[in-house]
């Protein structure tokens, strides 16, 4: 039986890897000058719902979101707790009452990375992990 003693550990490692894969449906990315490298879920939610308008250093937060796709659905469900339609309606309500400027909508990962890299204080998410030389940083979820 001794040869099976490590089985629980192997299963645990396998499950952890599976869970990591599940949680990696999206990657939170930010402009390199954003002062934070790790953000907790609540703050991330506040940021993407416009309840927090500035970074800790006073710099303006610029939001970006993908128009559609698995990453968008996973991110909105996992972090924001809203469906895609509810998120759109929430931001349109802000925009049409002058209480906020809706996130920039981008069509794909490539344009998202370009936008984040070229706008100070920008934050968004992608479906695939950005390449190392893409001039954006990956934000860890605390």
């Amino acid at each position: 039986m001794k040869q099976y003693a490590f089985m629980p550990l192997i299963i645990l490692i396998f499950l952890s890897a599976s869970l990591y894969t599940l949680s990696a449906d999206y990657f939170i990315i930010a402009n390199e000058n954003v002062p934070e490298n790790k953000i907790d879920r609540q703050r991330l939610r506040d940021i993407f719902l416009g309840n927090t308008g500035n970074w800790d250093n006073g710099g303006r937060i610029i939001l970006a979101t993908l128009r559609r796709g698995k990453a968008r659905d996973s991110f909105l469900s996992d972090i924001i707790g809203r469906t895609s339609a509810q998120f759109d309606r929430y931001w349109k309500e802000k925009a049409f009452t002058g209480k906020g400027i809706a996130p920039k909508i981008l069509e794909n990962d490539e344009s998202m990375i370009d936008f984040i890299a070229s706008n100070d204080g920008a934050i968004g998410y992608t479906d695939t992990m950005p390449e190392e030389d893409s001039k954006v940083k990956i934000i860890k979820i605390d």
Binding site: N51, N54, Q86, A95, T97, G98
Partner: protein, 405 residues
């Protein structure tokens, strides 16, 4: 809001542009919407000439806003609408303000502002932001738009994060009310006062004036995911004046006022997945002081109403909603005895509405809604719209298409 004021504001903005840094011009965001609706009732003209069916039901809005600095932003909406006697597609400055955001807990807005009043008042002009075409009349009666639309003044706002206890959002406003004296609601008030004067004479050379309005809301996003509770409070006073030719007396000055109007709304929203449940209870405390020929009489009146609404999104393109709403003109006279005493039907004292809506999101920008209302009572059905009489029960069909960008 006069066209002259809009021209002044636009001229001011155009003149100010060269004086300001040009960077923010690159960040100007423009959004807009166009709605066209249709209304048809089997009995009673309600909101417009609905018995014959009417397309006098549209809205256009253009929003311009920009972030000028990390903390300062400004925006404005030009708006036009038509609903029966109201709007007639005059272009108005619906809201326009500068917003300085000191911190998440405190910001200030100055300008022409939408009244904080229940969950939906600030977005009531924007059809595609709500599940139904007509909002529940217990809180958002179209007639009341003349009084609760917007004000010129200031507004403090912010958010307090309470960790495990959730979050509080607040808005506090103070300013001067803009009242449209030709709106059906104000017109119906003059008619009510006229009915209390011997000979029922028409009141002419009318003037309506609101001294101030202050109020705000507090909303608690509770620790229970998706559950939000809110409370609104608002206070104002309104003066009305005019003349009437009274039989055997001649021309007489007519004065009446709401010495106070206290407005309270208690709100609840629960959102889980594609299901959204909303309810609001609305109560008003006010009185009429009516002065005719130097004699003043006071009529206390406490209107109230409530609604419960449920919406479920079945697919990206389809959402079904239903609400039931009840409104009573006076909490102390729900049976309408006051109207019976005047020889009028008791059902003038209330209005009840059962509504079903299908919303079709045809594309990201195009929305179509179809709606059915089963109405009972005539609190907001006006005699001047229905010279041949008013029925207690009637049905209303509404359809509306909206394009937004």
């Amino acid at each position: 809001m006069s066209k002259r004021f809009i021209m002044f504001l636009l001229s001011f903005l155009i003149a100010a542009v060269p004086l300001l840094a040009s960077d923010w011009l690159e960040d100007i965001i423009i959004n807009g919407f166009i709605s066209q609706g249709y209304l048809k009732s089997n009995y009673n003209n309600y909101l417009a000439r609905t018995e014959d069916g009417t397309f006098e039901f549209n809205e256009f809005g253009l929003v311009v806003q920009s972030k000028i600095s990390n903390r300062l932003s400004m925006g404005a909406q030009l708006f036009s609408r038509d609903l029966g006697y109201e709007g007639n597609n005059d272009i108005v400055l619906d809201w326009a303000y500068g917003d300085y955001h000191f911190s998440d807990a405190f910001g200030i807005r100055i300008g022409k502002l939408k009244m904080p009043y229940g969950f939906y008042n600030q977005i009531r002009d924007v059809d595609f932001l709500r599940p139904t075409i007509l909002l529940p009349l217990s809180t958002y009666a179209e007639d009341m738009r003349a009084v609760v639309g917007s004000y010129v003044g200031t507004n403090l706002y912010g958010t307090f994060k309470l960790g495990a206890m959730g979050r509080f959002d607040y808005e506090l406003g103070y300013g001067a009310l803009n009242i449209d004296a030709d709106s059906p609601f104000i017109k119906s008030l003059y008619d009510t006062v006229s009915a209390s004067i011997p000979g029922n004479p028409e009141i002419y050379d009318r003037s309506t004036h609101a001294k101030y309005v202050y109020g705000g809301y507090l909303r608690w996003s509770t620790p229970i995911p998706g559950l939000r509770l809110g409370m609104n409070a608002g206070w104002t006073t309104i003066d009305y004046a005019g003349y009437a030719d009274i039989p055997n007396v001649g021309k007489a000055r007519i004065l009446f006022d709401h010495e106070y109007i206290y407005n309270y709304i208690y709100s609840m929203e629960f959102m889980i997945g594609n299901l959204n449940i909303t309810g609001e209870y609305h109560t008003i405390k006010t009185d009429y002081n009516i002065t005719v020929l130097g004699q003043t009489s006071t009529i206390p009146i406490d209107p109230y109403g409530y609604y419960g609404q449920i919406s479920y999104r079945l697919a990206d393109w389809l959402e079904l909603s239903s609400y039931y709403s009840e409104f009573f003109k006076d909490k102390n006279d729900e049976e309408g005895q006051r109207y019976i005493d005047q020889g009028l039907p008791a059902f003038f004292a209330w209005q009840k509405d059962l509504c079903f809506t299908a919303r079709f999101d045809l594309t990201l920008n195009w929305i179509l809604k179809l709606e059915f209302h089963k109405m009972s009572g005539a609190a907001f059905v006006h005699s001047f719209d229905n010279p041949d009489g008013i029925e207690e029960d009637f049905n209303l069909f509404a359809a509306k298409a909206t394009f937004n960008f």
